[in-house]
């Protein structure tokens, strides 16, 4: 009987591992050190600000970020631009408002409470301008792809020469990390495409890291307070558990039984 059990477990283990080997044809994602991982992980403020710059100067011409408002850029735990800076950023965008007293829509400079201005009016317009592919909204993109930040970071650097024998339609690009390796977005980054104000060199790798950090914050604006609260909550729980453990030992010592 014991042998039967052993062989049962060995066989199932082998089956599962071999199945895993079959499934493991995936490409290994590029890794980098994310400052926001770990028990007390925080965003790199400079990286977030640079990432916002990459978003506005590169991504935002096609990708919307409809769940973010300009005020978020100045909030704690985010890029933390100063209030004056955020107001200036908001004011640099033209927002359609209205209708006014005459029933007309009108344009005005953006305010803190405005949502990020979208590049296209609707999905159809976005598709028409991008060869039929809809550039996904970036608000929660970092959580909406398996592999998360590592995937986005890799994808941005995954544009490589087309492998021999692969034929791509016009307007389709090869990307090592994209599902099916075919992507409609042309490589968005190239060295020096933006000029960072803080003097950081704008390499593709650096920009990929900055924009991905920014996207992670956009998807999880409360990540920092979550980590801080979690750390405190778990320490509190551990101490309480220890105290309750000793009370339990004391109470059960009245009975001649083991807890």
């Amino acid at each position: 009987m014991k042998n039967f059990i052993k062989s049962f477990f060995i066989v199932t283990f082998l089956l599962c591992t071999s199945a895993q080997v079959i499934a493991a044809e995936k490409v290994e994602l590029l890794k980098t050190d994310w400052s926001f991982k770990g028990l007390l992980g925080k965003f790199d403020r400079g990286s977030l600000q640079r990432g916002y710059q990459v978003y506005t100067e590169v991504c935002s011409s096609c990708h919307s970020m409809k769940y973010l408002s300009y005020r978020n850029l100045g909030e704690k735990g985010g890029p933390e631009f100063s209030e004056a800076e955020v107001k200036a950023i908001a004011a640099s965008f033209e927002v359609t408002d209205g209708p006014n007293a005459d029933g007309e829509m009108f344009e005005r400079p953006g305010k803190l409470s405005d949502k990020f201005v979208k590049p296209y009016d609707n999905v159809k317009a976005a598709q028409a301008a991008n060869g039929g592919a809809y550039p996904p909204d970036m608000s929660v993109l970092a959580k909406a792809r398996s592999g998360g930040v590592d995937y986005i970071y890799s994808l941005l650097q995954g544009y490589e020469g087309i492998p021999s024998g692969m034929i791509l339609d016009e307007g389709v690009h090869y990307n090592k990390y994209m599902y099916g390796n075919k992507i409609k977005m042309a490589s968005p980054l190239s060295d020096g495409i933006v000029e960072y104000g803080d003097g950081t060199e704008a390499t593709v790798e650096q920009m990929s890291k900055d924009i991905t950090t920014f996207l992670m914050w956009a998807a999880e604006p409360h990540l920092e307070s979550r980590h801080q609260m979690g750390f405190k909550a778990i320490i509190y729980l551990i101490i309480l558990t220890i105290l309750v453990y000793f009370s339990m030992k004391k109470i059960w010592s009245r009975v001649e039984s083991e807890v």
């Binding site: 599962c16 199945a19 599902y179 979550r226 309750v244 339990m248 059960w252």
Partner: protein, 420 residues
């Protein structure tokens, strides 16, 4: 039930208690004689109550901010995550709380299977438990639909479509469930209503579950009937209360790790993409706790038979008290059953694993073997085992093995290992 009649000490207490015996109930709950040898696997009842209450409280709060409309649901969830004070915390507790709830219920069920807690005289407790489990699955499934992401939408489409397997009326039933010709706004609003209702049904059933438990009292690791109250029992308060509290705190630490450090690890990335009826995700996968049944569903090539197999896999549990023919409750004294028990545990884990994988090739083969074994366990192994198995002598009471020199658990185990 404690034997002595409770009499409140104050005059008002007596007056009130004669009209509504709440004080008697409280007295019963604190004095409730509990076997003193209960191990930590018995703490999951209390943990599950905590889970249910957590889900109800966080759920109520979320419902204040959530908008059950196909065009606004996804956005309202993002609103909760971004702008509602501590909305992210409440939502992550609720979402991970569902997983924790299922983790605890699976431990609770498998504890019952190991120690034979479903056997006479506890059949009704067990059956109520199975109904609670079914309702939990319904509530969890509908809850997963509410954020209106891609997995919500397509999961709802796949699961509701199962009803179309019913001959003749299937299509009609599916349209009736949807409130239209596809999963859409009417589906979302009714799922929201039911998702709000079911937890309160569960709460009511939990009361019945505990009521039914308090008639025969707890089973225990030795699986024998204990005299109550006696040397074998301790009052529920403070002994069991403090032990449950300790176990619950350990559980909350694990819970907190998920909520604060990997809140999305148990979910699917696709559910952060807003529902789109025109784009089907590459793999439609249910939440992890439904995967074993999903594997059973897909392992049968025929749709109707697949649905029947999946439902039978759950309902067969309700017949368990009569399928298990052994008079001995605890697996401690059933050497053969103990081994088949662990094979069943492995079998269910394997089903869960292949449920997450595409239904093709080797995975499908494993799923089929594991599905077949699942039914063989309940329909053949258990009934036959009751007659064939040579069990180990059972002690007469919990204290007796120690006092009377009868073999107690530790020595039985030692002897067993010596034999090998």
């Amino acid at each position: 039930m404690s034997d002595h009649e409770y009499v409140p000490s104050s005059k008002f207490g007596k007056w009130f208690n004669d009209r509504l015996p709440l004080l008697s109930l409280a007295s019963h709950l604190t004095d409730y004689p509990t076997p003193k040898n209960l191990n930590y696997w018995w703490t999951f009842g209390g943990i599950l109550t905590f889970c249910l209450i957590t889900q109800i409280v966080t759920g109520l709060t979320l419902a204040m901010h959530y908008i059950a409309h196909a065009d606004m649901a996804f956005e309202s969830v993002e609103h909760i995550m971004r702008d509602v004070n501590y909305g992210w915390l409440i939502r992550y507790i609720h979402a991970n709380g569902a997983s924790m709830f299922f983790l605890a219920v699976y431990i609770h069920i498998f504890r019952s299977l190991f120690y034979g807690s479903y056997k006479s005289p506890r059949e009704i407790i067990w059956i109520i438990g199975i109904i609670i489990y079914l309702l939990m699955m319904a509530a969890a499934f509908m809850g997963y639909v509410l954020p209106w992401g891609q997995m919500s939408f397509w999961g709802a489409t796949v699961i509701t479509n199962l009803f179309s397997a019913i001959p003749l009326v299937g299509e009609g039933i599916v349209n009736w469930l949807w409130g239209g010709y596809s999963v859409d706004n009417p589906t979302l609003t009714r799922f929201f209503t039911l998702h709000y209702l079911i937890p309160f049904l569960i709460l009511g059933l939990v009361v019945l579950h505990i009521w039914a438990l308090h008639i025969p009292g707890n089973n225990n690791p030795i699986g024998i009937d204990v005299k109550k109250p006696s040397k074998d029992t301790v009052p529920f308060h403070p002994y069991i209360v403090i032990k449950d509290a300790f176990a619950l705190l350990m559980f909350t630490i694990v819970f907190a790790f998920f909520v604060f450090y990997s809140p999305n690890i148990l979910g699917h990335a696709d559910n952060y993409i807003e529902a789109n009826p025109l784009v089907t995700p590459a793999h439609i996968v249910p939440e992890w706790y439904l995967l074993p049944f999903y594997a059973i569903l897909r392992s049968v090539p025929d749709k109707l038979l697949g649905v029947v197999a999946m439902l039978s896999a759950i309902l067969i549990l309700a017949a368990l008290p009569w399928l298990d023919t052994s008079k001995i409750r605890s697996a401690v004294f059933r050497p053969l059953y103990k081994q088949f028990y662990w094979i069943l545990v492995a079998d269910v884990l394997i089903l869960g694993y292949v449920g997450a994988m595409p239904a093709e090739g080797l995975y499908l083969l494993i799923a089929r073997v594991a599905t077949a074994y699942y039914f063989v366990h309940f329909l053949f192994i258990l009934p036959i085992l009751g007659f064939k198995e040579k069990t180990i002598p059972v002690p007469l009471s919990i204290t007796e093995p120690v006092l009377g020199g009868m073999p107690n658990l530790a020595t039985v185990k030692q002897k067993e290992s010596l034999k090998k």
